[in-house]
């Protein structure tokens, strides 16, 4: 790709916007006149979910099915010396007890991080780690049996603070990870030293973001069942129904652990009640259920309790960000230096990717010529952290956008303006190798400034009320898949039979985000048929072609493009057959409203049947606006072979055909009507060559700007968010109502992390493993959110679409932080901004009498993570079934 030097160091301008090989996913029609794309459409699976008829994994049952319950470790770090399951096995109703030795192979979502056992083999690494599984006739029996399993542990010193953990040389959490360091990266782009030397103002501070988790409404659930092999009578094929975002990865990991070929394993994803990243890797219960089913020789279902969901975790790690930013007096950023330490928990999970995203996504939002990044992913004896909505970028973005605000104040520049002064000039490649094409950030900033009446209200609200602005961005899928290969990231098959029904087979996982609806919309738009005609078969590894899953906001871009290509392939076949019938060239045909017509279809010869799915746009059918297209589902609308022949005799060549007629013609002509499309990100989008360059690149980035309006109660420290204006550049909104839902959801979830959500730890023990004490906002605190859709129409996205479900989240936290500053003049460097932290900062500012509101941690300059008060008396000793009074040495 040709590049030219830009005005700034580092960032390269691209001379050509579109892809050089011309293979971009541009739709063939002009991109403005759509019949289904861009319209607010109800989710295709909404009825089942709202009526209760829809089936989630826990709703499923099989004859002979057992309930699986897992025994969890009570210790944060211990060697297992002995497990005795004999008493449990003898309990009436217990069919099998599985332990680590039943399936000792390791696995992990990343090829570099195969460090998990489904059930512990030698060691446990956090309170809640998985030790054994009982499969019993009912839940109460299984729980009773757990009490009968004897485990002897040798306790090991445990590590709860990542900065302490990094210093250790012995009793490592994983033997092959020196200093308990999962991975560290040290990147230098441009010349940061020079950049800071050129800066007029430099800010440097530590920020701390505490740990949050997904809290999806549906707890994880898996049902595993083996078939008997007809020839041998032994256990044969395995079917697993699971609440997962990644059925194909699950199939792969099951194959590794169970030592079965992938072809013998079928993974089916029923309805999923939210994932947010918490189901984007293989969760222990998914494999444990299969191990237990194999041992019990009966189907086993495990559904996590809410507490187990918290222990399975894989949420956003608590993070220390030491950030330094330099700006010129005109507001332009000269250099950024970030040191990020993530408290990763006991296993790798997505950790290597998370720590890389934290650095890589310093780029691609603003034009930053010089970046230094030092990232440390550290192992601790806590549940593993993983991917969570806005993976890797959220905590660093909180720090960055807060610091940018502080710098704007110092140089006396409007907070919105400082962001405008640092815009990229796409198309370009950033200093850290990220290719940026469509870039709606300027418009996002303009829109939120305008709608919030920023110019007239910022800084002019009564004391206690304030406005804050912040921006964010996110990938539209990773340009490099977890498993490095040349395989497409998404493949979609389409089959149309003589009934005119369009069946789309996609591996993409609907998890509530609208994947199935998006797929149906794109297929229907390309084929010019009604949405009701399209049926989506998704996420069943026996039926659907491979798709790497619903994570990193990749589905619309990648599975959408694959759907588009598959539909175009089918359309081409229909067009060539229909053109023959109509005695014209295929290029002359237009597919729309269940009609295939010539030159826009002044369909004089067509005898329509059935009713229109929706009103025909004025002028579309020319003078014959009363012509009706047919839809599936009506008997007279279905054209079988005999009637078609009859029609052929009756009618000569005509200007339009119904969709069914065209389909039948194509099947008669080609023998079958199927199409396949796949998508792999283009090589130009796959990033630089440095170590760790694989994470961060994406074929397209989404952009967000938000303004939050808050009030702060100065006596109590309580923060109320009144309104958030949230503009999001999603390329093209394929389904605006769905995009708005994603924006509102992101803001709401970001607000949770900003104000109320926090996993509270005491020596590795999670103090709030439930939705009563882990406080996601309720509807009462939900502010009015004004979603503003910005459409930058990406050259490579399907119909120009990009990401819309994660990118907004990261802007909410700093927007609220900046609004708090505007309201009462305090700058919190620790999230969430709980009332005690806010009040501590307010009192410090006023020089009020010191109260130890935050137990030694200054929320405006935090140095370390705060532990919950009280004492876990077992430290180094071990808990007994009946506790003894702690000796003074054990107390804190």
């Amino acid at each position: 790709m040709k590049t030219t030097e830009s005005r700034r160091n580092g960032t390269k301008a691209l001379s050509s916007y579109a892809r050089p090989d011309g293979r971009g996913a541009r739709p063939t029609r002009p991109m403005t006149d759509f019949s289904i794309i861009g319209k607010p459409i109800a989710m295709v699976d909404a009825a089942g979910k709202t009526s209760g008829a829809g089936k989630y994994t826990d709703d499923l049952s099989l004859p002979g099915m057992l309930v699986g319950k897992i025994l969890h470790s009570p210790h944060p770090h211990a060697r297992i010396e002995r497990i005795d399951t004999s008493k449990a096995e003898q309990l009436d109703g217990v069919i099998a007890v599985a332990i680590g030795a039943d399936a000792p192979n390791t696995y992990g979502i990343l090829p570099v991080g195969h460090d998990e056992h489904a059930l512990a083999v030698d060691k446990v690494r956090y309170v809640g780690d998985n030790v054994a599984c009982v499969a019993a006739e009912d839940e109460a029996t299984a729980e009773s049996a757990l009490e009968l399993i004897d485990v002897d542990y040798e306790l090991l010193p445990a590590y709860f603070d990542p900065e302490d953990s990094m210093k250790t040389e012995r009793d490592l959490i994983h033997d092959n990870k020196a200093h308990n360091l999962e991975k560290d990266y040290h990147h230098v782009f441009g010349d940061p030293e020079k950049g800071f030397a050129e800066a007029d103002q430099i800010a440097e501070a530590r920020y701390i973001a505490n740990e949050v988790t997904h809290a999806a409404m549906e707890p994880h659930s898996t049902l595993a069942s083996f078939e008997l092999d007809s020839h041998t009578g032994k256990l044969g094929r395995l079917t697993v129904w699971s609440s997962t975002q990644v059925p194909y990865y699950l199939q792969h990991k099951l194959s590794l652990v169970l030592e079965m070929p992938m072809s013998q394993i079928r993974v089916i994803k029923p309805l999923v009640g939210g994932g947010f990243g918490g189901k984007s890797e293989v969760i222990p219960l998914e494999i444990i259920a299969a191990i237990a089913a194999r041992k019990a020789k009966r189907p086993v279902k495990i559904t996590y309790t809410r507490e187990e969901v918290f222990w399975a975790h894989r949420g956003r790690p608590r993070t220390i960000i030491d950030l330094k930013t330099g700006v010129k007096n005109d507001g332009r950023i000269t250099a950024v230096k970030a040191r990020v330490v993530q408290d990763g928990g006991g296993y790798c999970s997505y950790g290597v990717v998370t720590i890389l995203y934290s650095g890589a996504l310093l780029g691609a939002l603003y034009d930053i010529p010089n970046i230094q990044y030092d990232g440390y992913r550290v192992l601790t004896n806590k549940p593993a952290c993983g991917a969570m909505r806005g993976h890797g970028t959220v905590n660093v973005r909180f720090a960055f956008e807060s610091q940018l605000d502080e710098l704007a104040a110092r140089i006396n520049l409007d907070r919105a303006e400082i962001r405008r002064r640092n815009l990229l000039q796409p198309p370009c490649i950033t200093v850290n190798g990220l290719r940026v094409q469509s870039y709606g950030l300027p418009e996002c900033i303009d829109k939120v400034v305008e709608r919030s009446d920023w110019q007239n209200r910022k800084g002019k609200l009564p004391r206690g009320r304030g406005l804050g602005i912040a921006c964010s961005h996110y990938v539209s899928g990773a340009a490099n898949s977890i498993i490095r290969s040349d395989m497409p990231h998404s493949t979609v098959n389409i089959k149309i039979d003589r009934d005119g029904g369009v069946v789309v087979y996609t591996g993409a996982s609907e998890i509530g985000q609208g994947s199935d609806t998006m797929t149906a919309q794109i297929a229907a738009e390309v084929l010019g048929c009604s949405l009701a005609r399209v049926k989506v078969i998704a996420a069943d590894t026996d039926l659907t072609p491979i798709d790497i899953g619903s994570y990193s906001s990749r589905v619309t871009f990648m599975a959408g493009n694959a759907t588009l290509r598959a539909a175009q392939e089918v359309k081409k076949q229909i067009a060539s057959a229909a053109a023959k019938k109509m005695v014209c060239s295929p290029e002359e045909l237009v597919f729309r409203n269940d009609l295939v017509s010539r030159n826009g279809g002044a369909g004089t010869g067509h005898v329509g049947t059935g009713a229109l799915a929706r009103p025909v746009p004025a002028g579309f059918l020319g003078t014959n606006s009363s012509a009706h297209a047919s839809v599936s589902g009506r008997v007279e609308g279905q054209i079988l072979r005999g009637s078609l022949q009859q029609k052929r005799k009756d009618q000569g060549p005509k200007d339009s055909m119904s969709f069914e007629e065209a389909v039948v013609a194509a099947i008669d002509f080609h023998g079958a009507l199927t199409g396949t499309g796949s998508y792999a990100p283009p090589p130009e989008a796959r990033g630089g060559k440095h170590k760790g360059a694989g994470v961060g690149p994406s074929p397209a980035y989404s952009y967000s700007a938000q303004v939050a309006e808050v009030t702060v109660d100065e006596d109590t420290g309580e923060v109320t968010v009144h309104k958030v204006w949230a503009a999001h550049d999603c390329g093209r909104a394929l389904n605006p109502v769905s995009v708005e839902g994603q924006i509102i959801g992101s803001v709401w979830m970001g607000m949770g992390q900003a104000l109320t959500e926090e996993m509270i730890w005491k020596d590795g023990l999670l103090m709030n493993p439930g939705l009563l004490e882990y406080r996601s906002p309720s509807s009462v605190e939900s502010p009015e959110v004004e979603p503003i859709i910005v459409e930058s129409i990406d050259a490579e996205g399907p119909f120009g679409a990009k990401e819309c479900s994660e990118g907004s989240l990261a802007a909410t936290i700093p927007a609220i932080a900046n609004a708090i500053y505007d309201a009462v003049g305090i700058r919190l460097h620790e999230a969430p901004f709980t009332p005690e932290r806010v009040l501590a900062a307010l009192r410090a500012k006023k020089n009020a009498k010191t109260l130890n509101l935050t137990e030694g941690v200054d929320p405006t300059a935090p140095a370390r993570f705060r532990e919950h008060g009280g004492a876990v008396w077992f430290k180094g000793k071990g808990a007994e079934r009946v506790g003894r009074a702690p000796s003074p040495a054990n107390g804190d």
Binding site: D713, T720, T756, V780, E836, L839, G870, V882, A885
Partner: protein
Amino acid sequence: MALSEFQLLRPPNLTEALATLYRHAGEGPRATRILAGGTDLLPSMRQKLFEPEHVLDIRRIPELKGIRETDQGTEIGALTTLHEVEHSELLRARYPVLVQAAKTVASPVLRNMGTTGGNICLDTRCLWYNQSLAWRKSCGFCIKKDGDLCHVAPGGTKCWAAFSGDTPPALLCLNAEIEIGSATGVHRIPLRDFYTGEGDNYRKLRPNELVTRVILPRSSAGYRGAYRKLRIRGSIDYPLAGVAVAVKKSNGHVEDLQIAMTAVNPAPTLVSGLAQLLDRCLSDDAVAETAGDMAARIAKPLTTSALTPEYRREMIRVFTKRAVLDVLGQRPRTNDQRRDY
């Protein structure tokens, strides 16, 4: 988490209920539990905090329902839901502090189920106690259940689990009495004598006894009142600190002032010495300020819940001050825009 096995007893009337309770009272952790709303009982049973042999379902007993005027004041049946209390015109007119407190309990759905008696009898709460069996096992069992240590006050022998009902501080301000029934008869005690101040043995109720009704005296009718609750979310949450204030004014003169707190001690606690405060004829602001300090002094919050103890104590001070100013007819100047649901 499964419920462990128990026998469900469903008597049709109060007499039979009390007789049944007398027969099956049990004791200790296996003592019979009363099912009224069940909103606290069932989660606690799943966590194996209660392991009763019998559960006595009193939900069908008509005598325990409803709000009635009597010669002495107003009676609220123990089974009266918090929703009914919240929406009672009678209570709103006469005992507004109670209505305000009832309105803040949990969420609308839970108030449809939760009862007045249940809120009075609510088990004390602690982050180290309201956890699953597996969780509690992982750090050693505490005084309140199965063990003899305290994580909140290491080395201590007293249980500090916090009483976290919202309506009892309001009832204390109103000088409420409760009626306790058993197979051997009924008796009444002032609500303030019901609580012990011990987190693990927090109320004076024998296993064969049942709280049957609350009596609000006529003399407390017409008190103005306010309830302020510290919570992180505007709904669902238990109080992290709560203050009820009731005041009787005549001819512009404050005749009586009552303040009670919840969620910061093992019992809902009346603030004493307020009569002397009124005798000093201070300005409203000074009364509010001093009352806030007095309340904060007797609050003993520990790390039994979210938010730090010092913060919760400070909020007792702030909320008391605000609530007092509120009932004295001066809305405090704040930008507090929170709503309760």
